[in-house]
Symmetry: C2
Subunit: 305 residues, 2 copies
């Protein structure tokens, strides 16, 4: 697949020029196939993250079911605020810690198989509130083409997400053609158990390590992938360190930052520091390092498949 949904222009040129340089046999910037590692952020980089993270909607849907069957849970101010979608009020009601505990608890006790089934079941019914499409309609067509083009040039392509890795894994093969072992993300600890003679993994309410944003993205890339990537693609301040990691390796690198500047076809919020309001906006960082900023409005001839 070529980059059919990419308009002619500097972003497309930067991608194709880079690939030509690092795959040129005997060329000065040639990179052996084993080192062709590409990492993509997920939310807002590979699929739409507005008006809310899709996984957050899934978790809140489960919380609503739990509250419907549990008056004590439903009566808690933090839960009521969460179910109204008012995160600020939820944090004020219970503090970040209680809010996080409530959210982590939504799928505790399920086996990993049960969680996969629950995620898939919810995702099958989900329709985007503005676009009316199922989840498979929310992946960015130009990014699917970019991943395919990288694979055609000998790359292994990984997702490195701040989202819950088990959630993305449930649909990653269908959405992106990426198998579960090529996804890295925030993770819930799943505990070994024998049930009726069968080994299962049971989700706890505890995280395994830190939320996978910022520096932890680099540490998790080492822990899971074991090599420094040469291509990194992101869209928020939480991707900065991962992009810097690719940028400061010995090999020629390609760092892309997606600018959401397309109110008409998607959303316009590219200047925001999505996860941490105090962080330097990623578009500013991209300017410092000379990373390629991909404008959704100008560089993409279509957004969704």
């Amino acid at each position: 697949m070529s980059l059919a949904s990419w308009n002619d222009g500097p972003s497309r040129d930067a991608i194709l020029g880079y690939l030509a340089r690092i795959t040129e046999e005997g060329g000065p910037e040639h990179v052996p196939a084993a080192e062709r590692i590409a990492v993509f952020d997920n939310d807002g980089t590979l699929w739409c993250e507005k008006p809310a993270y899709i996984q957050a909607l899934f978790i809140l849907s489960r919380l609503g079911e739990q509250a419907a069957g549990d008056p004590d849970l439903a009566a808690r101010p933090v839960v009521q605020a969460l179910l109204r979608g008012d995160l600020a009020a939820a944090a004020a009601a219970g503090g970040e810690q209680e809010m996080t505990a409530v959210l982590l608890d939504t799928h505790a006790g399920l086996t990993t198989d049960e969680f996969d089934a629950a995620a898939l079941h919810w995702l099958e019914a989900f329709r985007h509130p503005r676009f009316g499409v199922p989840f498979s309609g929310l992946a960015y067509a130009p990014m699917l083409e970019l991943m395919e083009t990288l694979r055609a040039h000998g790359f292994r392509v990984f997702i490195v997400t701040g989202g819950g890795v088990d959630f993305v894994r449930a649909i990653g093969a269908r959405l992106y053609g990426i198998e579960p072992d090529d996804m890295v993300g925030s993770a819930i600890r799943a505990r070994f158990e024998r049930r009726d003679g069968r080994v299962v993994l049971v989700r706890t309410a505890a995280m395994l390590g830190s939320p996978n944003e910022g520096e932890p993205k680099v540490e998790s890339i080492h822990a899971h992938i074991g090599r420094r990537p040469i291509v990194a693609v992101g869209n928020s301040a939480g991707d900065r360190e991962m992009l810097e990691y690719a940028h400061t390796g010995d090999r020629a690198s390609l760092c892309l930052v997606l600018d959401h500047d397309d109110e008409e076809r998607e959303y316009a919020y590219g200047g925001e520091a999505v996860t941490n309001p105090d962080a330097e906006p990623i578009l500013t960082t991209a300017g410092h390092f000379g990373w390629t900023v991909v404008s959704m409005r100008r560089d993409w001839s279509r957004v969704f498949p």
Copy 2:
């Protein structure tokens, strides 16, 4: 590559029969390609682990260098016992905890790149005390053939080792044709740092999670691979849970246990519970579950490449 180093007999039949059943299009036990996941233990399963774990020799070599330059370190009884190779005395001198701390500290402060270089440098010079061969001569030829045969049948092949994953990664591609991202093991936490404007990862003296033996092997398979394997190969009690995980899935599985019963060509210690003397010997467990026991002596026409 066929299973050229496997003698005709029940083990070879079990492997080939299994592969025929699960790859038969439309057959009752057919497994889709995406679910063809194979996991191999490393030490004693893929390469020789006697007279000592090769990684242990590497760590002790470094400890010897450190002690040579640091009289205080050299004077500690736990260090003296370790450098004599007397683990029991070392544990008695300082307790398991102090011994572990000394060993974990040997490569703390190195960047991951520096560690890789140190491991490779040591491994290039290493010769096996009995066989006189370099590390590449210690992989089991029949296991290399088995991995290749699995790949030819659409499998993705992973190493799930109790050893330090960064050590195995340094040589895994050359030894086994397995890239770093397909290796799971015990891990040291590597911390994000910027040095001279460059992002590096610096090894700490702390483990990331538990030692990867027993139940943690199953938990780390979920964390890294995200699917239940259908083929599992091991040789010690530390592999039991991983083998059980494959055995108790919905798909037809193949569980192999290597019996080291060949004093002449390698070593004879298959009945031992290597890492935990209180654990049930894996050959006993294999009998309970009906797993295929591979006899090095009878089933392999050659051991080393």
